[in-house]
Amino acid sequence: MGADRPLPRATPETREFWDGVGRHQLLLQRCDDCRLPYFPPQPTCPRCAGATMTSFAASGVGRVYSAITSHLAPPGFSPPYVLAVIELDEGPRLLSLIRGIDPDEDVALDTPVEVVFEEVGDTTLYAFRPQGPP
């Protein structure tokens, strides 16, 4: 994609996550009190407001919960492309591009996907692609 694709900037609360992405790890936080894994990283548990949490490396595997095919062209993106809500096996969901599919064909809901990492300049970003054969 183009050089003008928007890039994330970490906050102190998300620095650990983005450092993990840089190491090709998808880190999730789990509340120390109620054990809920959640995303995005934040300083309190979104379920019990617990104040301490522990990061762990997610498997990187999930499924397509829902998706659209965008025919818009924001900076750095050429239409059509697939924007999907991915539900990770651990439970939390995130928003991601789907790579490795024909964007003119609908990606089936519940398609198993796996994380991939892509370098954009000095920044590493995550995306997902349909899971390959075992």
């Binding site: 829902s66 025919h71 818009l72 995130l94 970003l125 995306a127």
Partner: protein, 381 residues
Amino acid sequence: MTGVAIVGAAESAEIGVVPTMSALGLAVDAARRALADCGLSAADVDGVAAAGLAPYLAVQLAAALGIEARWVDATMVGGCSNIVHVLHAADAIAAGRCSVVLVAHGESGRSGIGAPVYRHAPDSLPGQFEQPVGAAGPMTLLSLGTRRFLADRGFGAEALAEVVVAQREWAARNPRALRATITTVDEVLAAPPVAAPLTRPMCCVATDAGGAVVLTSVERAAALPRPPVRLLGGGSATGSAMVWTAPDLTSSEAFRRSGAAAFAEAGLGPADIDHAMLYDAIATLPLMALEDLGIVGRGASAAFVAGGHTRPDGRLPVNTTGGGLAYTHSGMYGIYALLESVRQLRGEAAAQVDGVQRSLVHTIGGMFHAAATLILGVNEA
């Protein structure tokens, strides 16, 4: 809440493409017309509410009109903000904090005149977790749950098209509607995709427009020229931090909470409603609102719309201007939904429905970030 009424209401003189006015100008124009509508002057107004991407719009509006407010609300939660303002104003009037409140909106959504440009900071939540992966504004975010909603309910994309077809029937009766042509399900499905499965007609228009209402106590309303439109019940709710963090994208917890509060306060149920404005930035939203408000059961929204029940001569007219999909939508749409409810209750709508006595306005803010619902009525004992 039942002690407060809308006594003045107006849109800006022009809506659609208005190259002659800034966002503030549109708000001021609507405000002046709403004041004229109730025969009050700026000197009578002691409370003001407005919101937009510019943080001080309420103050700029008050200053432009010479209003010296002792109550101000600039709550900004997206398109439902003006409905939240009405709820807050009703409480303030009842508490005696102010007596006459102006709630106004103006937005140069198409022409971008005097309109701040919104950019997500790269370290904001959207800047980190949406913008880098291809989010491209409301049409690509609001729509994210649509395919799961359709699949879960067993609907095809025709369900979305039927919403458009029904609302064009209303738009065709409204000289101010931007998309006033009758259409068919096939035409809507064949239109260019925007965020598939949403095609262009399933996405709202982008216009320049303004709107305003004036509220006061029912006691004071009795001395004013227009028939008062009483606030019967209302509710507001927060939703999810980002649209995809909600546990279920096929049903909005914020819609349910906001709607339930409005019905509970009014002491009414869905069967008591004669008319509804259901915020329709995309065609999925009215289907979800019909279900989440309890107007129909889960999974029954598509058949309700396709069966003609929301069209002219249907048993629950919905979005009777044509809505955001066909009438006007400046970016934040709540005020325009409210204004049509007021017109229908007063008997002066372009596409007037016979005998409307209770109208429901249901609005969304942001990308399911918030919701606010209002039930209004006339001829209440």
